[in-house]
């Protein structure tokens, strides 16, 4: 007996007060707080709950003014965050991050995340750009997995939260301009699913999957930004993509996160050397008033330094810099990183004997969905949190702020969404899902480019022409290349099979990735200055006239760009 083709079935339908999209740190926190606020919650993830996204990848630092290592106050953390943001931070969001951070880290501590301790207090490491030791962590390089596991345990114990993995959100459902749910693709069956919700929270993380070399999970192609844009919300600071300066480059390292060398540097120092085996960071340190002239360049400056050394012909064989720990006694390396040393040995790496090679790698997105201090977008009923939000970190994010932001903004978005659900009846109508259902039903098997190969092409365009160092010519070339690739895949999805079809999933990803790639390249072209993570080789140096945020929006399918003054003033408590 054959069943009817799934695309003729009536879509499955689910309802909840609050729909949270994305089950990383921010999404899990949002679901917990929304449930605490009395809401019924659906927590959906295209991967498995608490496994995908960026949180689980975090290795070490979570910044908050706990004052455990040395006396501290959230306003010091705030000052450092604003300084790193190069004048573009939304001060309300930055203040919220810094002020609520300690409370969230203590909540995680009570939930037994296992922050590293020393002499009875939480141990805090100093990271570049922070004026004092402020970063808590879980040994050894286990911060992300520990945080994810802790939040998953809380989810298991909470009531009123329905968790659904393998569910890709296609579009936010809108009625009278308000968010009333979403339409999704259930990957295991290939069926459409509609979700009614009184409030929707986007917690999908960043966009680093747009780049060839990145430290992201496979699902970090920026889908939340595209969902928000198409729903009518605004994006802010999209030109600011953070490149992590010392991503692992060579030898091939498997079973470990490519950004793992930062914790090694926090604990052991470590020297960045060029092909002449000479330390070069000091050559670039004078460019930044906040650098103390040792190795502590902030991420944007370290990326700049390594790239310029490579351009000058002083790069390592694989095209990066050497990172050396040869000056550190072997016993000290073992004491600081225990079993990690054995995992490195399995990869043929012996830090006491030989340096490794590192190079900048796409790591985090400062830009994102524009929200107020309640995490509300301009679309009623639509909220965002975590890395999906733009503004808190301005033009450059401090090490340690990302997980803190996931906790703090996640909690705030969850609370706001529950509040909205209390005050509003469901606006759901099946019509709100019609266009997305039609899109899914239009999927066909046809002669078409391999979408997995198209993703690789797009990543090459972004890396080569919308990377850390940009020019007018490169950006124009990228914008036209993106348009061409977009035309190549057409307006209706490719499909290969019904159950767990990666072709269909890639097509839906590409639909989002093209919109997001354009939303990065267009403001990058407009910003004719160099600031933080946005460096223009044809417009060197900071220009005060550009102390503004750029806002990307979509109107009738066309992208619009405008400027606003940065938001100042502390958040209302």
């Amino acid at each position: 007996m054959t069943s009817p083709p799934p695309n003729t079935l009536v879509p499955a339908h689910l309802e909840a007060d609050v729909l949270v999209i994305g089950a990383g740190g921010a999404g899990m926190y949002a679901a917990l707080e929304a449930a605490k606020g009395g809401a019924s919650v659906i927590l959906a993830d295209r991967s498995l709950i608490g496994r995908g996204g960026a949180t689980v990848m975090a290795q070490m630092t979570v910044a908050a003014a706990l004052g455990e290592q040395t006396p501290d106050h959230w306003e010091h953390h705030f000052a450092d965050t604003l300084a790193a943001g190069r004048g573009l931070c939304d001060e309300r969001l930055a203040a919220l991050l810094c002020e609520d951070g300690p409370q969230r880290l203590r909540e995680m501590d009570a939930w037994k995340v296992g922050w590293a301790r020393e002499d009875g207090h939480i141990k805090q490491a100093q990271a570049p750009g922070h004026d004092r030791p402020r970063c808590a962590y879980v040994d050894f390089l286990s911060t992300g997995p520990a945080v994810s596991k802790t939040l998953r345990t809380q989810l298991n114990n909470a009531s009123g939260i329905r968790r659904i993995g393998d569910l890709t959100i296609v579009d936010i459902a809108l009625r009278y301009g308000e968010a009333c749910g979403a339409t999704a693709l259930h990957l295991p069956t290939g069926q459409a699913v509609t979700l009614a919700a009184k409030a929707v929270v986007i917690a999908t993380g960043g966009l680093t999957g747009l780049y060839r070399r990145n430290s992201a999970s496979s699902n970090m192609g920026g889908d939340g930004y595209a969902l928000a844009l198409r729903a009518g919300a605004e994006l802010i600071d999209m030109e600011f993509v953070q490149f992590f300066p010392i991503g692992h480059l060579a030898p091939r390292l498997v079973g470990m996160d490519p950004i793992m060398w930062d914790p090694f540097r926090y604990k052991l120092g470590g020297k960045l050397l060029n092909s002449e085996m000479r330390e070069f960071e000091a050559d670039y340190a004078t460019k930044d008033a906040r650098s103390d002239g040792t190795y502590k360049l902030t991420r944007d400056l370290a990326t700049y330094a390594i790239t310029k050394e490579v351009e000058a012909g002083r790069g390592s064989p694989a095209g990066g810099a050497y990172l050396s720990f040869q000056h550190v006694p072997e016993a000290e390396i073992r004491k600081a990183f225990g079993p990690v040393v054995d995992r490195l040995a399995e990869n043929g790496i012996d830090l006491a004997q030989r340096p490794v090679e590192v190079a900048p790698i796409a790591h985090y997105h400062m830009g994102g969905i524009r929200v107020d201090e309640m995490m509300a977008t301009g679309v009623p009923g639509l909220f965002a949190c975590g890395e999906a939000v733009g503004g808190a970190n301005g033009a450059n994010r401090l090490s340690g702020n990302a997980i803190t932001e996931a906790f703090v903004f996640g909690a705030r978005a969850g609370r706001s969404a529950a509040e909205r659900a209390k005050q509003n009846a469901s606006m759901w109508s099946a019509d709100a899902a019609k266009s997305a259902i039609d899109l899914l039903r239009s999927a066909s098997k046809r002669d078409a480019p391999n979408p997995a190969a198209v993703i690789v092409k797009l990543q090459a365009v972004m890396a080569d022409d919308v990377g850390p160092f940009r020019t007018d010519a490169k950006l124009r070339s990228a914008i036209s290349a993106i348009a061409q690739l977009k035309a190549d895949i057409g307006d209706t999805p490719f499909a290969s099979v019904e159950a767990f079809d990666p072709v269909r999933a890639d097509w839906l990803d590409l639909r989002n990735m093209f919109a997001v790639a354009q939303s990065v390249a267009v403001p990058a072209l407009a910003r004719t200055e160099s600031r933080g993570a946005h460096q223009r080789d044809d417009h060197l140096g900071l220009n005060d006239a550009w102390s503004v945020n750029q806002i990307v929006a979509m109107a009738d399918g066309d992208m619009t760009l405008r400027k606003v003054m940065p938001t100042t003033g502390k958040a209302a408590a």
Partner: protein, 111 residues
Amino acid sequence: MKATLSIQRGALGATPHQDTFDIPFEHGQSILDGLRAIRRSMDPSLAFRFSCINANACKECMMLIDGKVDYACTVRLKEGMTTLAPLPKKALIRDLVTEIAPPDERLMLRS
């Protein structure tokens, strides 16, 4: 160097078949690197789970590698034949994808 991956294909309810792919590789690359290369250059419909790519953090890429349960992201490609199959004790979805999520983290739909 060249690796040959013999992969069990097919959805639940269909008779499984083996597809064989030859892929060039460099020393140190993982089975997951090989699977992703197959999707890019030969067969984009090949289904397997992974999320974190490299870090062995998400634990989604577990499969049967030469008859042993292991992670595709940590086992290296080797010259000659490697056989890949879905986890034997989990419900098959398609190809190398099985139902590994806890029952209360899934949506059950008839397919």
